[in-house]
Amino acid sequence: MNVAVVRFPGSNCDLDVVAALGATKGLKPKLVWHENDDLEGFDALILPGGFSFGDYLRAGAIAARSPSIVRVRRLAERGVPILGICNGFQILVEAGLLPGSLLRNSGLRFVCKWVTLRVENNRTPFTRRSRRGEVLRLPIAHNEGRLFLPKDELAALNRKGRIVFRYTNEKGEPTPGKNPNGSQENIAGICNEDGNVLGMMPHPERAVDPILSSEGRSDGLAIFESLAGLSRSGN
């Protein structure tokens, strides 16, 4: 499976994503520049984290008007799996490919720590390896991760199963104390109507090697192995 990792000026998690994809059996990553590289022929797309265009205006706002987004939108409509991580999520929201807004964290601080997530929807190409209700440990590192949606849109997302991850405690309970940024209903990730476009604030690419986790875990692999269509046993 050929996977494009789209680079913008200010992306800084692109090489980590390439490394994580490269470490996953069945995935072939390629870095593409947002302005001029063709996205045709790729089986999946990842918009990595960072500070595209310096986060000027609003995080993701300028990248969302970049020429590549027209091509990203076309692929999204064709059902190609697209994952936006952190700033990539912000870009997808600013481009209107995912609903809502990602506002400044409620504590008005950049939050960088490991969090616990519950998988709410395992029907996306990026979560099918997980069980519904499974708990993952992944790191976050962001300043604007507080998802905000009007009440009716939030209700519709819940109804349609489009909330993919929530911040929870280790028992999988979404408590206020485990919400790192004030996101509505502890939401950490959502998908589009068809489920092929997923945005998430946590960084799975930073959690693919046990040596990078104080707990010796590599839960981020679940996301990339799901994309590769691997079974839980990894083959």
Partner: protein
Amino acid sequence: MPGITEQHPIFVVEVVISNKVAAKDPEGDVIHRDLVKSHFPQVKSVRVGKSLRFRIEAASPLDAQSLVRRMCDELRIYNPAAHDCQIAPGRLDG
């Protein structure tokens, strides 16, 4: 607070803080170059600022403006070395 009476109306005073004209404004430059210019070539430049809106009790619009000016100076709400601070006369709230 000294000087506050219940008789005075409430005015809204807008303050816009932006980089001095001579100082570079990288955020405005990027918004112009990478977002605006290709869609609206008529736009020749963009400067970014921060806007603050104060609701303030005062005897007149000009009193409200001068009180906000004094506050911005005394509390260093802008950095006089790097910023321009534009303060409009107050307008009646509501």
